[in-house]
């Protein structure tokens, strides 16, 4: 990135968006930084200007984007179902934000580069499909979240064609961390974790810090194309549950409906893309990331799971009587 670039970050209120903004604030090459989201940032930002805006308020979004006239747009406005929003709002907001932010960015005269956050759910796990798809595999989503991501990528492609600038699409493995709102993270932290009795396939995750580092690296590289981002290694649901000392509960067919209801009551609903992950797996070939954006995740998938279970010990401090 050359000196003093104007950067627009949509989805700045998410854990990932806030992390990216924090990292970009330390970059001398970044000038003005503006963020949008329905939720406020989860960290204290010193340089960024934040606009709290409803993703369905297209007029307001377009106005903000045109006023900023960004040179780099980092579009993180993707709502995973049952993470920060219910499935209906998540799909609606993701679609509206893509049209508003990317559509407006396409008409900005200064636009030079787009970075778009997508996800590996876009590949789909149809029977007989690739276990570990690379970027050349045609997306064939089987879940509502996967289809939302595909629609969002299609909007991004149209934006790129209109603006005629490089665009880096980052397909992230499920982003998990101790502080990340994630349906998979919540599910794995239940005392008893439902798992498939017939298949316990492997899946990969990515740590939130690694995902943020990949996004920042992509913003500086101007790679034009799709990049899978996933931590090396894999876990299965049973292995992950045991790593956290949880009890894996093997389930068959209709029992999953009961499990989804029960986990939903306990605050950990299982959206279809997580269900797909538990039954069909979710690894990707992320070997291209090193060449394309110059960074690879520093934590392995088992380390990401371990970090998920490591809660800080609560130390109860007694008021000292010696204090005057």
């Amino acid at each position: 990135m050359t000196k003093g670039k104007r950067v627009l970050i949509s989805g700045m209120g998410s854990e990932l968006g806030s992390l990216v903004a924090t990292l970009l604030e330390q970059e001398p090459a970044v000038g003005e930084m503006v963020g949008l989201d329905i939720d406020p940032p989860r960290r204290r930002l010193r340089r960024a200007h934040f606009h709290r805006v409803d993703p369905s308020d297209r007029r307001k979004i377009v106005g903000i984007v045109r006023d900023v006239d960004p040179e780099v747009v980092i579009h993180l406005g993707v709502w995973e179902p049952d993470a920060r929003a219910n499935p209906r709002d998540a799909a609606q907001w993701t679609a509206s934000a893509a049209i508003g932010v990317l559509g407006a960015a396409a008409t900005c005269p200064s636009i030079e580069h787009l970075v778009v956050r997508s996800g590996v759910s876009i590949y789909g796990r149809r029977r007989g499909s690739a276990t570990r798809p690379d970027e050349s595999v045609t997306p064939d989503p089987m879940t509502p979240f996967g289809r939302t991501l595909l629609q969002m990528e299609q909007v991004a492609e149209r934006t790129q064609r209109t603006a005629d600038v490089p665009m880096t699409v980052l397909r992230l493995a499920p982003v998990v961390g101790p502080h990340v709102p994630s349906p998979l993270g919540r599910l794995l932290r239940l005392p008893a974790v439902p798992v498939s009795a017939l298949a316990d396939p492997a899946f990969a995750l990515v740590d939130d810090q690694d995902a943020a580092a990949a996004i920042v690296a992509a913003a500086g590289r101007r790679y034009d194309g799709v990049v899978n981002v996933a931590s090396p290694g894999a876990v299965t649901a049973i292995k992950a549950a045991r790593m956290g000392g949880r009890i894996p509960v093997p389930l068959l067919g209709p029992e999953w409906a009961v499990a989804r209801f029960v986990t939903g009551v306990f605050g950990a609903p299982i959206p279809p893309h997580v269900l797909e992950l538990m039954h069909r797996g979710g690894t990707v070939d992320a070997g291209h990331a090193g060449d394309a954006i110059g960074v690879m995740p520093s934590h392995s998938t088992p380390e990401v799971v371990q970090a998920l279970y490591e809660w800080a010990t609560v130390v109860h401090l007694r008021p000292s009587e010696a204090v005057a």
Binding site: A130, R132, A202, A204, R242, G281
Partner: protein, 216 residues
């Protein structure tokens, strides 16, 4: 006693969640278990296991009859003999058999799946399937997988398997690896396929021309 101790350690790893699972779903403990059961099922002579490269990717191509268990035989015996897992193509994508075979090192038969394994430096095995009515004849080498090997410049290792479906004795013989670093284009791939098929046919014929009858 050693076997009991390692089985206990494997059980402990599974219970504690410290077992290792790779991105294709292979579990080292399940590979060990499958090798143990394969040693009960087959008494195998392995010849030329040193031809499998000790490091880096390699594509093994072996003969097999339709619907037989050659993939497990090759993966367990060659994997045990060369000291590294051999990933075998042809796992059905159907639970519960598919997931169990994936745990043992299997993958579904897709060129992009094999390409991913080879890019990751693994040894993968694919098959020349013999015609159902003429099991003594080695079928054509699978061109899509050879194209992957040529594109990635991965050595190709022909493997001849002599095993009757109902018998206990088996022989797995490996020929020296074929260098693909200078191969280019569809003609080279086709010639490579023919060379592989002829090599396997010669090795199987040399051992026992009658060995491919179902009851021997």
């Amino acid at each position: 006693m050693n076997r009991l101790a390692s089985a206990g350690a494997a059980l402990h790893r599974q219970f504690a969640g410290t077992n290792s699972v790779d991105e294709w779903g292979m579990d080292a403990d399940t590979v060990g278990l499958t090798r143990f059961f394969a040693s009960l099922r087959w008494h195998t002579d392995v010849v030329g296991a040193a031809h499998v490269p000790p490091r880096g990717p390699a594509l093994l191509i072996a003969n097999r009859r339709s619907f037989d268990t050659t993939p497990v035989l090759v993966a367990t015996t060659l994997g045990g003999a060369c000291g590294r897992p051999v990933r075998f193509a042809g796992v059905p994508d159907l639970a519960p058999l598919g997931p169990f075979l994936r745990r043992s090192g299997g993958v579904i038969a897709r060129p992009d799946e094999i390409a991913g394994l080879l890019r990751a430096g693994e040894v993968a095995a694919v098959w020349c399937t013999s015609p159902l009515l003429d099991p003594r004849r080695v079928g054509p080498a699978p061109l899509p997988y050879l194209e992957v090997a040529v594109e990635l410049h991965v050595p190709v290792v022909p493997v001849a398997v002599n095993a009757a479906p109902l018998g206990r004795r088996a022989r797995v013989e490996t020929a020296p690896p074929i260098d693909t670093s200078k191969a280019r284009g569809p003609l080279a791939t086709t010639e490579l396929a023919e060379l592989v098929r002829r090599t396997i046919q010669r090795l199987t014929d040399e051992v026992n021309p009658l060995a491919r009858l179902p009851f021997l």
